[in-house]
């Protein structure tokens, strides 16, 4: 940020479905010096609260948005400039910004509509972000048990600046087919492998969470030459027990809000992050015909009686691609101790004050780790 520049702080877009965000709390006073990476404000989307970070250095000269304001993506939250900037110039900047600001038109069926591809005879739903002519190695995100593409809502935008970012709904999840065939785990692995082939992704960074991390490891073993790097997040598939095995059963059984809420709260270090909308969206998915059967089938095949059937710990060392493991220190589901004793080719990052979903609960930190990892290998 040069000396004579005013930088607007705007409402970020997190996830494909976000249209507005609500300013919950300013974390920095007007007049405070700020530097890249500082957390400026808490913003609530319809799913979860996240923090807005600053890029560049300067002084938060003006807090334009008030706490409690619900604003569209791109709206002016605040103004950053250095101390020499005149107040009158800042006023003029704000006035001009507000005059010219037009909220992004959300056209039905355009920005939010997922794409679809058929793999093994099953329609798979996925989303793609990033510039058309992006040259960076693309990224493929694989969600966990009972999740979907939207699990990565806080992670896509950051990485999609310079590369294509794909988020896939595994079979049985999100908008994909709600049927898995006789070998559920093999179906998931084959779906991800098939997706990579179908989209002709010769090189891809694979990032998997929980069950999705186990799937990602299996895919990396099968197709080592296509996987530029592997990132496993609060991974299943590293130990023969699942410390929070009761969660799986509670999640499958929960048909009502009062049962779903305590189940979902186990996923976060801070249980108050589980919002009304997150519960509603999860129940909406759970109600769809076939989902209960699919989840039960996965649970039986992959996590029977608190055990884990598909374990890849011994296979990691032989994998040719760089590997990072990220874990929330307060994970109640997959044990953070599973990150201990990794082979030397695996970099391990433990994120404090995060549970099973560090990519949501500590999104800025998570994104930094992933970006730094990519930078170090590209």
């Amino acid at each position: 940020m040069s000396n004579n520049q005013i930088t607007p702080l705007i409402m970020p877009k997190w996830g494909m479905s976000m249209v507005t965000g609500k300013v919950v709390d300013w974390l920095v006073e007007e007049g405070a010096s700020i530097a890249t990476g500082d957390e400026l404000a808490e913003v609530e989307t319809d799913k979860i609260v996240n923090v807005v970070e600053v890029q560049g250095n300067g002084i938060l000269r003006r807090r334009v948005a008030k706490e409690g304001d619900e604003l569209p993506i791109g709206a002016l939250l605040g103004v950053i400039a250095d101390a020499a900037m005149q107040d009158s110039e800042i006023d003029a900047f704000i006035e001009k910004f507000q005059e010219n600001f037009v909220p992004e038109e959300v056209e039905e069926g355009q920005t939010n509509e997922p794409l679809s591809v058929e793999v093994d005879g099953r329609p798979l739903s996925y989303q793609k972000a990033g510039p058309e002519d992006a040259e960076g190695t693309p990224v493929l995100f694989i969600h966990g048990f009972g999740g979907d593409s939207s699990s990565w809502m806080f992670n896509v935008t950051d990485l999609a600046a310079s590369r294509a970012v794909y988020t896939l709904d595994m079979p049985g999840h999100g908008g994909s087919a709600k049927e898995l065939g006789p070998d559920p785990f093999e179906t998931l692995v084959s779906a991800v492998s098939g997706f990579i082939e179908k989209l002709e992704l010769a090189q891809i960074h694979l990032i998997g969470h929980s069950l999705g991390a186990a799937v990602a490891m299996a895919v990396a073993v099968q197709k080592p030459n296509n996987i530029a790097s592997l990132t496993i997040v609060d991974a299943a598939g590293l130990s023969d027990t699942l410390s929070g095995g009761s969660y799986i059963e509670e999640f499958i059984k929960a048909e009502r809000r009062k049962d779903m809420k305590p189940a979902l709260q186990k996923l976060f270090a801070n249980p108050s992050l589980v919002s009304r909308e997150m519960i509603n969206e999860t129940l909406k998915y759970k109600r769809i015909e076939g989902v209960a059967e699919v989840l039960t089938a996965i649970a039986r095949a992959v996590f029977p009686d608190g055990k884990q059937i598909h374990v890849f710990r011994d296979k990691l060392e032989a994998l040719p691609m760089p590997i990072t493991a990220i874990w929330g220190a307060e994970d109640q589901l997959t044990n953070p101790e599973d990150a201990q004793g990794m082979p030397e080719n695996v970099r391990v990052h433990i994120i404090d004050k995060a549970g099973h979903m560090p990519h949501m609960e500590a999104a800025p930190q998570f994104n930094k780790i992933v970006s730094a990892f990519f930078k170090s290998i590209e």
Binding site: G68, G109, R256, R257, N280, K284, R287, I288, E289
Partner: protein, 337 residues
């Protein structure tokens, strides 16, 4: 996810359930549309277009246009349910319930009890409620409280297209008589509705909005009226929690009490007339079970105790609106200062 209207969501549910279970038959006045006129026989699909296309796929054996005799065809539906069919009958306007009330409350609702559990009536009666269509005093009422009063009936009031599909699927698969109240003013309201089948369990309220200051319990179209009021109040820093019980029988009392224990204030918005109504029922329930949590008197926003006026200006004044809800919320806050 595809965007569908309330009308389309109901229509799609009927198609999907009839394909799934051939014991399902539908019956009602004009539901096939243009009866006896080949070529245009399915042009209409009932007075509100909800059953369009069904006769074309399922034929006249499963889509029965009935005579204008509610006691006749609702009675036939109850009897058919007893013999093992799963009828979905359309009672065009809930206002006509007087003609067939015996068949519903004294027959269908009592079969399971009076036959010692050996015979139930897996029957759905779809009907319409609500003012605002300029249809006068005999076609605009919201008579769900009367049905809620009767043991043996389940009463369902979807407030949106998503809710309509999940609740109607549940209603059709339920083994007891269900009255399914569609609000006329919601038919063209659209939202994301999955193509796949899904069910929403009865007796499970939807938290339509979260807030700490005042609990608003509202049904059907009133959920949207309450939402408008809550938007306006939020600008003044007043946060309303809106609970849509979805079904008045069974009623999710736990969620209502849980919310009132948090907010200490309760406003009930009910399009039915005020005496012996859903609103008084919820008010009594909370006064009885959560009196200690209340910081202010309970406020009810109902239609007035009068027939629905035909004059459009008066009809608009008759229906509870956001301004009336706002007044009630502010009164509850004022009383607890």
């Amino acid at each position: 996810m595809p965007i569908k209207s309330y009308r389309q969501a109901i229509n799609e549910t009927l198609f999907q359930e009839m394909r799934r279970d051939e014991r399902i038959v539908i019956m009602g006045e004009d539901i096939a549309g243009g009866a006896g006129t080949p070529g245009i026989e399915d042009a209409w699909g009932g007075p509100l277009g909800v059953t369009a296309g069904l006769v074309g796929e399922f034929g006249r054996g499963r889509v029965l246009d009935t005579p204008i005799s509610e006691s006749g065809f609702i009675g036939a539906a109850a009897g058919a349910a007893l013999t093992g069919l799963r009828p979905v009958a359309e009672l065009m306007f809930v206002d006509f319930l007087g003609v067939c009330f015996d068949m519903i409350y004294n027959q269908a609702a009592k079969f399971r009890y009076m036959f010692g559990g050996t015979g139930g009536a897996p029957l759905v009666i779809r009907t319409t409620i609500g003012a605002g269509m300029r249809t006068g005093a005999q076609h605009s009422q919201s008579l769900y409280s009367i049905f809620t009063h009767v043991p043996g009936l389940k009463c369902v009031m979807p407030s949106s297209a998503y809710e309509a599909k999940g609740l109607l699927t549940q209603a059709i698969r339920d083994d007891d008589p269900v009255i399914f109240f569609e609000h006329k003013m919601l038919y063209d309201m659209s939202e994301d509705v999955p193509d796949e089948s899904y069910t929403i369990p009865f007796g499970e309220a939807n938290f339509a909005r979260e807030g700490d200051d005042v609990t608003i319990v509202a049904l059907s179209r009133m959920v949207h009226i309450a939402g408008q009021a809550a938007e306006a109040l939020a600008k003044d820093g007043i946060e309303c929690e809106i609970i849509d019980p979805r079904t008045t029988s069974p009623l999710d009392t736990d969620s209502i009490i849980e919310s009132v224990e948090k907010t200490g204030r309760l406003v009930i918005v009910d399009e039915d007339t005020p005496r012996c109504s859903f609103a008084t029922d919820v008010a009594a329930l909370v006064a009885d079970e959560a009196f200690g949590a209340l910081k202010a008197p309970i406020k009810c926003v109902n239609a007035p105790h009068s027939p629905i006026p035909f004059a459009p200006e008066l009809e608009d004044m008759y229906i509870p609106d956001a301004a009336k809800v706002e007044v009630a919320v502010r009164a509850a806050l004022e009383a607890s200062k």
